[in-house]
Symmetry: C2
Subunit: 445 residues, 2 copies
Amino acid sequence: MNFVIIGGDAAGMSAASRARRMYPDLAITVLEQSFDVSYSACSMPYNIADPDTPIDSLVVRTAQEFIDKQQINLLTGHKVTAIHRDTRQVSGKTADNEPFCFHYDKLLIATGARPTLPDLPGNELLMPLKQLEHGRQIKDAIQKRGVQKAAILGMGYIALEMCEALTDLDIQVSMVKPGSRFLPWLPRDMAQIVQDELIRKKIALHMGTDVQHIATADTGGVRMVCDTMILDADMVLGATGVAPCSDLAKDAGLAIGVSESISVDPYLRTSDPDIFAAGDCGDAFHVVTNQKVWIPLALRANRAGWAVADNLFAENTLLQGVAGTAVFKVFDLAVARSGLTVHQAKEAGFDPVENLIQSLSRAKWQPGVAKIYVNMVGDRKTGKLLGAQAVGADGVAHRINAVAVALHAGMSVADFIQTDLAYAPPFGPTWDPFLTAAIQLNKKL
Amino acid sequence: MNFVIIGGDAAGMSAASRARRMYPDLAITVLEQSFDVSYSACSMPYNIADPDTPIDSLVVRTAQEFIDKQQINLLTGHKVTAIHRDTRQVSGKTADNEPFCFHYDKLLIATGARPTLPDLPGNELLMPLKQLEHGRQIKDAIQKRGVQKAAILGMGYIALEMCEALTDLDIQVSMVKPGSRFLPWLPRDMAQIVQDELIRKKIALHMGTDVQHIATADTGGVRMVCDTMILDADMVLGATGVAPCSDLAKDAGLAIGVSESISVDPYLRTSDPDIFAAGDCGDAFHVVTNQKVWIPLALRANRAGWAVADNLFAENTLLQGVAGTAVFKVFDLAVARSGLTVHQAKEAGFDPVENLIQSLSRAKWQPGVAKIYVNMVGDRKTGKLLGAQAVGADGVAHRINAVAVALHAGMSVADFIQTDLAYAPPFGPTWDPFLTAAIQLNKKL
């Protein structure tokens, strides 16, 4: 039996490793177009901020280790260009332009996501950050060009993590986006807190700014020509979002779902039961709406990869879905979310109410205490907890997990109020800020 | 209508304040035997560690503020000695030995808990820490006696918090307990981690040591004569546990429950429907076992106080119960728990399995990363998650809340594995340590 995996990143390698543990005799082939597998992509901004640690230290396991220790036929530099469902084959070309073709009994598409750069003259000058090779290029550029000024197109969480990384390197950062709202998925008052933090760190934020074209500047740097200004920098990053790599699946006639991601069932099967999809290329059910969503996140990719191995030959692991829980750090603040924003809740047909509270991360006399802001969303019709967002300098990241678990359990806001959360003065006020948020929200429901 | 409350601490004052907001015309009388109301008892160790901040700064609101701003008839120095259910009266004596008597329509017993000191000759020399007055006495003693050496009888969480506080003041601390196990509710390997931390901080731990009597030493300090040694100190704290103050209720013929606490229903009513009990004097249902437990914790006291106000004249707020979630800090470590230990689970009739894992608090390259230990308990028969305990220097306190919420929701270990917890390298590994714990435990179930 041949198990073929397209893509050697989180989902692909998780599936390969677990399949090997479960089925010692299975022939496992992984086809990876780049030359990097199994690295911590989310750690790239932090590595870039540290000139003394090579980016290759983010590699968790090398291709050769997978080959030697797990007998996985891992082929890098192998770009798959077509899936032939009639003959159960995948074909493509190597980096040396040699054609290849593999037969599969079970296939996993784990092609991940790709950066979406705006369609602009000169957009090839924008440096994205998605694969390890991108990180390598950015890190090289910083050193070789002696970057002192950088521009970032985009203000999402990758853009903000990179903004912090570059600032740590004493690089002056300007951020540009065409839209007018900063972190538009946060309530305005919360987004403002994050925006204030950036301004305090001397970041220039150019919102409502359309880039018209990008060109190499006379100085050797990059010139971004916008509708209202010209911005010269030594380097311009493009962090304007990602899209699922679903072309192979689409060309093979597999069902495509939300945001052009590959549609999968709770067992990670595509519309062809012998073909699975996992990781950033596939969709998922949302535990709050029970509707399909495309939310590319690392934990889900790992979990889905494992589940594919479990489900290769039987329905063993049914994935319940995602809550869209995420957190990122930007300078001294953490920004976290789980579940729906009030806008998403409206779109999903709920009658949502949100309420923003301010509390403290610890008892007020404790060292390290900081303000913490929690916005909670509930459904007026059913009383159900729908989601929460939080911002603060202390105690935000793990507190959001209480909400994530509550969303999986389908709890009401009133039920959440009753949860017995931990209290000690060094770690929180008597009423955890998320309990206070729930109590205040419940009054509005 | 007269609402009379016995006890002006967390539960009593929460009930009084909320009842005032709900019922502007209700006559509310609070009878408090001490002269302190509404203070942060849990913050006392941290205040004691700080000689520059008076202990009275822990007072959240003074008696006069309750009287002036909320028209609550708050009487301090009023010790209730009897409840007369036939005539609906409470009677007692003031600090000036004046008798008093009040009629009630609804009564709340919020008498809290009292320190239980061992029955030893000289035990009046042991200084407990429960009420603000105790904190005042300890703080005064440290200053006036110029304490350099202190002994603590007991090794529970109050003892450990005080050990840290005294060490911060450069006081040399010895701890004594008759039992042989340190933190016996933790798995041995976890307890050892905490014990190692204390030894590293130069704390002397005398376990298996029976105290025979305590006396004033010739030097003016205190001498603790034990079976195997004599320990001289400038001050000896007694932190050997607490017991519910339920004598008034018992004498009035109300039902008494587990650990001699006052038995209440989910609406906080005692066996007399016009008499409520809330706070550390009353029992609660445990969300995992659905059996009665006595777990005195501050959040529950506040929550129960509010619920009493809600339920004075109608069944408005049903409390679901407690998960026994708690956390404390001792030097660089946090120790947290929620739900049942494997021993408690066995006693409750489960067929429990536990598993201890070691993970990291953040991604391995991140500053601040520390080892984190999680022990998780599940039921072999049903697969149900029963509880967890965790120890570590980073990221322990709020992570336990995910387990607390899962216990309220009655989740299985397999369900918990699926929860979509937040991930970013500065805050955790891709698989949160509690997910790793659940995955490993599930293999044993």
